[in-house]
Symmetry: C2
Subunit: 326 residues, 2 copies
């Protein structure tokens, strides 16, 4: 039996090694020192591993997909650097953010540069139609920016519909997961049916992953999460939980949730009160059901692929991500 | 005889029309309203016209180069939006900058999005090797970011060498001019010799254009320049003039120039005093000589191309740009 966790670790190491070498210059120092810092920040490397596995699952060599995988990871990191400026976030994965450790100008510029480096790496990909590949990647850039833009617009609204929320996360966090599968399929030379199956798989796990993220903010164990429980509630973030709850609550509960959404809530005991409201409205179960449904749909989509190690790995990958506790 | 000015106007109109249509969505509003605003800001459209002319000069159809030209122009505009944030600039071409008219978050995001849109447009190019084309474009992204990074580093130094200055502007403002010619050559199917000639031409006019810009800050007529004379002096910008002067001055003049470079100058009558120092040190003549030499070298490089309307247009284009008074 394949040891999936070990295989995942091996793929992740390959990606990390490439990321450590992708910056081949030292000057200007104010550019490349922070750029190296960003790319050495660790993380699950979900997107690049997904590019490799998708390529493998359609019969390609996962090593052919490494450059594209690294490109998506760099693109993802570029969005984090710029989002952190916009969100005034001081830390990321337990380390200072770039604009905090250096300054805002540097963070803007390093993000821009990372986008260039991402394309440079992508263009080293030898298998698959390079125009198609670069188009899919570029659509990723555009959609992820739109997603962040919607997220910022929604912050200023008293409430959004569940549909609006799902549209926003499909762009902001789902799209790069989706293109990871799509790019792997292109590099692996997949036909239309297999490409579509992988895209469906990735859309489902991308969405479920985000809802899981929103859920963990409330139900995770604090020391495992690496940040305080209820951070989203305190920030008044329009998560799946808050959005769904706002659309279901009445009376006192509605008032409480509205005050969270409009950043006017009384802070005392807020996380506990909101969590209670979520429970009473059945929101936590709703989130769990959505995650299960998406996981189910993701696995079902994989049935359209031939059985091989890549597909089995993708099955394991979906379960691993969506059963995580932090 | 060809009416070059009219032909230039025609090419510029084609570019402007494409720029007006490049954004095909309205939402999110906070993204696409400012993006349209940026792309409708006018300008000389030097880079896209150069892409078209370079393609034509090597025997290609300039219309094949329109998408790539529009892409370079969008890329250029993305750098302006982000540079304006970093430089705390309130106006650009007589209009409010994006971060001033909207806010900084929006300006960051719109810049990012413009980069995506630029690649999208570029990938519509049908002639030439798409991988090579996209690589050249990507090197442009990387170099222009490095240039801005050096520029910001130099701001904090008391002085830089002429060599450092020329390296910085080759990246910050020269590189996109250079890739414009290179991309036109690729699309037009140029051989190595013609490509190299066009690249040499573009490097020369890019450098001369920047030195001309630095010179005009001091010698232009204010109402034609559209901004106050001596703005660079007041800001203490390390222009060609200040850099060269710092490396030549002694005694009182050196003290004056150092105070400009370190932003500690006595403001009274500063522009006049510095201009006088430049004149006495022969810096204005030095700048003029450099511009003439670069123009000469640019025209000489064109001799390596066959004679045709594209080449004649490039000759006119170099003279037009470098004899401009604003």
């Amino acid at each position: 039996m394949t040891d999936f966790l070990q295989l995942y670790g091996r793929y992740r190491d390959i990606i990390d090694r490439h990321l450590a070498e992708v910056i081949d210059r030292d000057e200007p120092v104010t550019m490349y020192e922070p750029a190296r810092y960003v790319l050495s920040g660790g993380g699950k490397r979900i997107r690049p591993v997904l590019v490799m596995l998708s390529c493998q699952a359609v019969g390609g060599d996962p090593m052919d997909a490494v450059d594209a995988g690294v490109a998506v990871e760099i693109l993802h990191n570029f969005t984090l650097v710029h989002d952190d400026i916009m969100d005034r976030a001081d830390t990321r994965r337990g380390r200072q953010t770039v604009h905090k450790k250096w300054d805002e100008n540097i963070a803007i510029l390093v993000g821009d540069e990372l986008m260039g480096i991402a394309y440079k790496k992508l263009l080293n990909t030898e298998k698959g139609d390079v125009r198609k590949l670069t188009r899919v990647f570029t659509e990723g850039v555009i959609e992820v920016c739109e997603g962040q833009s919607y997220d910022k617009e929604f912050e200023a609204l008293p409430s959004v519909t569940e549909e609006q929320y799902l549209m926003m996360i499909a762009k902001k966090t789902g799209w790069l997961v989706a293109i990871s599968a799509e790019m792997g399929a292109i590099i692996g030379g997949a036909d239309e049916v297999k490409s579509a199956a992988l895209l469906e798989y990735a859309r489902c796990i991308g969405r479920a992953f985000q809802i899981q993220d929103d859920l963990l903010d409330v139900v995770a164990e604090e020391d495992k999460l690496g940040k305080p429980i209820g951070g989203d509630i305190i920030e008044g973030k329009k998560t799946f939980l808050l959005t769904s709850a706002l659309n279901r609550a009445e009376g006192e509960a509605l008032e409480l949730l509205q005050s969270v959404a409009t950043h006017t809530a009384e802070e005392h005991d807020l996380v506990a009160r909101v969590t209670r409201a979520y429970e009473q409205l059945g929101i936590l179960d709703l989130a769990r059901t959505r995650i299960e449904q998406d996981t189910h749909d993701a696995l079902e989509a994989l049935e359209r692929l031939d059985d091989n190690e890549g597909r089995r790995m993708l099955q394991w990958f979906a379960r691993m991500l969506l059963e995580r506790k932090h």
